[in-house]
């Protein structure tokens, strides 16, 4: 084993302080943000890396950003190298490299110097409500080029040695909708970085810089050791699987995605070679998006409780062909990137579920189920804009029924918007927020029901856009459990006509009294439904999770 100079107790204290710094940066950003997508959905991440850009600790709201920060920092080092000065802050949202996802996710990177020596970087990445482009919210289900999706920041200096780059700020201000929100969030991000800077400098003040640098290295080594220990316990060999993504939002064609997983004693290799090439519509994923998705399930498999740093990912390799739908290149649109990115987790999840029943459940809703809706508030000046993910059902496991009303795997400490707040802020009426008890996902353990939420417009000329992936196929059951259901939405117009169901729609026009009904998938079941105890089945009937008819048909129930 490697030996370290710092004693184990001092190291422990420094490690705690580093983790606390990541958390503090995270909280600072949420508390000062102007947009619900940040402070309720927590669609952002903050962290710090060592001087080489390896992630040391990250405060997470959602899993989907795990590992993107280090790519951002590494790109900054590659682009600006020796010209990086104390007080610089870089702005970056490039989806084709540098830790990008879609343009809305804007990253900031700041070097930390102590007595002239580069010690570390602090970085964060937050979903801006708008970055310009053709549609409000900068996300579309029908964009065909990145240029339609807003501003691209290719790792530019936002601050130069502490001085803000005013022309750049003005340029952003004039090119985004709701600039007070986006610029407000930018300042919240800056405040968060400065909090991190302050804490790191205090640490350097107290201990030698060398001690801090060594402690970061040691923390990474520990992460690696833990991951290797867990890999030892996994089944060895190769596992192959392919699946179909609904469509790209432009044509109706399904898209092939495939994986070959190779697990050895000390490696976990995920090869997506053979996956279809990038598509016309905006569901293309960046390579870092794919990597984050793979890392999420890798952590779920190896050690869900550990402190996360890049060390844990040293045994992990992710291969994807450049120009494929999961490693896209310019100028492919990416605003709905998670519709392909999610399959990075999904294919591994599904491949290994039979081998790891203590960790992996049956399939869950499998889409962020994003809703974007806007228009005039009936009582207030100015337009409202809703941008939010939706909750749905999770799959059952070997010892539990699936949960209801949870966000997908790439979200996390994400909160839905309370009905009372939504109605006040957006001036819509929500007629229903309830469980979708469709009886799908039958099993010895039952899948968690999906959720129904509706929005009724109270003014004319509103628009509604949504991307509800996994619309064409039902989510999967495991170990003999039945499949769950799908995600879909429909429009009930004021005149009584119904349009849909749809999986994706861009800018549907709603007038006063028109209602959108959103339905998310019920999770897959686990095990043969016939094995579910009579008592549990009767309880499910009593509580309305299933009907008597479903009890008879799926569970072989008779009174």
């Amino acid at each position: 084993m490697k030996s370290y100079k710092t004693n184990p107790f001092t190291y422990e204290v420094i490690k705690d302080a580093l983790i606390a710094t990541g958390e503090e940066m995270f909280i600072a950003l949420a508390k000062t943000s102007m947009s619900p997508i940040v402070y309720e959905v927590l669609d952002y991440a903050c962290g710090l890396t060592n001087h080489k850009g390896e992630l040391v600790t990250q405060g997470n709201g959602v899993t989907g950003f795990i590992g993107m920060l280090s790519f951002m920092v590494k790109d900054t080092i590659e682009k600006h190298g020796d010209t990086i000065k104390e007080g610089d802050i870089f702005i970056i949202n490039d989806p084709y490299k540098g830790g990008g996802s879609h343009l809305n996710d804007v990253g900031l990177v700041m070097p930390i110097f102590y007595k002239g020596q580069l010690i570390s970087f602090v970085a964060n990445k937050a979903h801006w409500t708008d970055v310009g482009g053709k549609d409000p919210g900068s996300m579309s289900t029908n964009s065909t080029e990145i240029y339609q999706e807003g501003l691209q920041f290719a790792c530019l200096r936002l601050f130069s040695e502490g001085e803000v780059n005013d022309p750049l700020l003005k340029f952003i201000e004039t090119n985004v909708r709701h600039p007070e929100i986006s610029i407000g969030d930018l300042w919240a991000q800056v405040a968060s970085l400065r909090t991190g800077e302050k804490r790191l400098k205090e640490l350097c003040e107290k201990y030698e810089s060398e001690v801090i640098i060594e402690s970061m290295e040691r923390f990474l080594d520990q992460g690696e050791r833990l991951a290797l220990k867990e890999i030892e316990k996994l089944p060895k060999g190769t596992f192959e699987l392919s699946d179909l993504i609904d469509d790209d939002g432009i044509t109706d064609d399904q898209i092939n995605i495939q994986i070959k997983i190779t697990i050895t004693d000390n490696e976990f290799i995920c090869d997506f070679t053979g996956t279809d090439t990038q598509v016309q519509g905006p569901i293309n994923s960046s390579y870092t998006g794919l990597v984050s998705s793979v890392r999420t399930i890798f952590l779920a498999i190896t050690n869900p409780a550990q402190d996360i740093n890049d060390g844990a990912f040293r045994p992990l390799t992710v291969i994807a062909e450049k120009g494929s739908v999961v490693n896209t290149s310019s100028p492919a649109p990416t605003s709905m990137y998670w519709e392909s990115m999610l399959y990075g987790s999904e294919l591994i999840w599904k491949s290994l579920a039979p081998y790891l029943p203590d960790k992996l459940t049956a399939g869950h809703l499998m889409s962020v189920c994003t809703v974007i809706m806007g228009g005039k508030h009936p009582d207030k000046d100015g337009d409202f804009l809703i941008v939010e993910p939706s909750v749905g059902g999770w799959g059952a496991g070997n010892n539990q029924d699936g949960d209801t009303g949870q966000f997908c795997i790439l979200d996390g400490e994400t909160f839905n918007v309370p009905v009372e707040i939504a109605e006040t802020t957006y001036g819509v009426i929500i007629d229903e927020y309830s469980m979708r008890t469709d009886g799908a996902g039958a099993g010895k353990h039952r899948g968690g029901p999906g959720v129904i939420r509706s929005y009724r417009a109270l003014t004319d000329n509103q628009f509604f856009t949504a991307s509800y992936g996994h619309h064409k196929l039902n989510v999967w059951g495991s170990a003999g459990g039945m499949d769950g259901s799908n995600n879909e939405f429909l429009i009930e117009k004021a005149d009584g006509t119904v349009d849909g169901p749809f999986g994706k729609y861009n800018q549907y026009k709603l007038n006063k009294g028109d209602k959108v009904v959103l339905k998310t998938a019920t999770g897959g079941g686990y095990g043969d439904p016939k094995e579910r105890s009579k008592k549990d089945v009767e309880n499910d009937i009593l509580n309305g999770y299933i009907t008597v008819e479903q009890a008879n048909r799926f569970y072989g129930y008779s009174r």
Partner: protein, 678 residues
Amino acid sequence: MRVATDIGGTFTDLVAVDDNGKIIVGKSDTTPNKFEKGIFNVIEQANIDLKDIQMFFHGTTVVINTLTEKTGVKTGLITTKGFRDVLEIARGNRPDLFNLKYKKPEPIVERHLRKEISERLDYKGEVISPLNTDELNEILTYFKEYNVKAIAVSLLHSYKNDEHEKQVLNYIRTNYPEFSVTISSELSKEWREYERTSTAAFNAYVKPIAHDYLTNLEQNLIDKSSCKKNYIMQSNGGTSTFEIAKKTPINMIESGPVAGIFGASILGEVIDENNLIVLDIGGTTAKCSLVENGNVKISTNYHMEKTERYAGYPLKVPVVDIIEIGNGGGSIAWIDDSGSIKVGPKSAGADPGPIAYGRGGNKPTTTDANILLGRLALRNFETSTSLEEIKNKFEISLGKQLNTKTDDLAMGIVKIANSNMLNALKLISVRKGYDPRDFTLVAIGGGGPMHSQALARELGIKKVVIPSTSSVFASWGMLMSDIRHDYSQTLLLPARGISYKEVNSVYDEIIRKAEETLNTEGVEASDVVITKSLDMRYEGQEHTVEIHVPYENIDENNIEEIIKNFHENHDRMYSYTLPENELEIVNIKIQALGKLEKPKMIETDTEEGTALKEEREVFYEESGWIHVSVYDKNKLKVEESVTGPAIIEEQSTSIILHDGDVLQKDKYGNLVIEIGGQ
């Protein structure tokens, strides 16, 4: 004579003050199935004549235990049509990010007992569809059939207009008086339907049990003593009468720990220190809280059972802001899978306890480390364990693996324990923009004084106070408390350019309600103290900052003062302001105190004899083993000072003075330590 009793999991504590200010202390076993028995036992054991009791204060864990052990009554829920699943959908968050088997908190009400009625208000509180009480009959019949005992009613936007909830309440009371009913708007007038519904459901769930408990206790008190002034400790650091507590028992959820924090604020008044950080270290956990300008911090963001990896259940009731971490005297030191050394959150508890207790404990704890370092004397423990035994067990569990000497290992454990506590102390101070150097640290609980000086040094705090009643401080705090009720009403208005008439009239209405409540509790109008505040934010933000309103009414003139104050506080908490942005008033709040007469404080007695007990070897991080003087706390004379390095011993704990610390006993028996001297 006034008496405070506090029922804990193991012991029932008593603190009483007689008319001359003399303090009496008692302790007896808690009697789980008949709590009042333990209460009368402890009164008897303390030699208190029941007839002498003029005021009785009581804190109890009956509510929190009922909730966490899920032993409440069968409860039904009535919601607005379309929303019966509100408790099950909850907020959708998954704090255990990478655990695919995460299970969210299970709803306290089964789905078939969650019923909907036709009615609807809009966000302004205006009626869109009227309430249809005809539907209630069927619902209530169903509830009866399933043996439901209590009902919670939570309708959308009831925080804005509680008329429909009240109509449901009246209907049930009139037609089905056998049900115990809770409506959400009587507990919280803040928006967010899941949180409010959860609060109402848990209040309903525990109400019949709390009701029986309190009624029974009150009856016993009235029968046995002539005491009519009986009060219950609430989570907001104040008390209420038994009658009020029976209606809203959920307000008692954290009644134990908060009393200590409140006690510190009273102590602060006595010793003229307004800004305090309170640190309470027990066997299993350490708790800390901050008192600014004599005010204990209250919030309604409480989550029962919440951890880093579990969402817990929200209860929107006023609770003193306390951070609690799994780090106490009994916390176990261990090595995790990555080879890192950790202290806590697992604790050896009271049984088997630390190795030193000699009751079969064999895992190193913080207490054992303090013994090995000479800070605690093994002879003060009633034990047959030897130092050698402790050393051996340290060696076996940790020393070999870490390849360190026992001294360094013990010091390392204390260091990590301190680091954990330091992070908690920073959470309530530095992270909220407070400079700890402006605060005095009050150390309570068995472990408080042992760690407080090192922690104060790290934080730059100059003064530490160890109260004379440190070991029973929570009960002492109760004796000092006032009747207190907090109210909050979500309004959502722009801060500028409005007619302030609405705001002022809502204030007036809440104040009237508070005064009425206090009046029913026997408080004279002249003893009522109302403090007003606002939750404000920049338009578009979510999180609010609480700003005090020291004015009779809000008007065009003083609003600018309030706004200025907001910017300053925002700057302190988040280190920036947005002077150009519009502001919003989110909630208006009041704190209503019914002042109770306070007992006298008397000067301390000193035991005869010299305080110097012995000299012994003690390990300090900076200097290693050194020879220091050890003093007996009870024999220290008033104003006698001791300069560190030194140890002051009590029965169960030690006060560690580091190099240059100067300790002095004040006339009330409190120990005041200047860190690094003055």
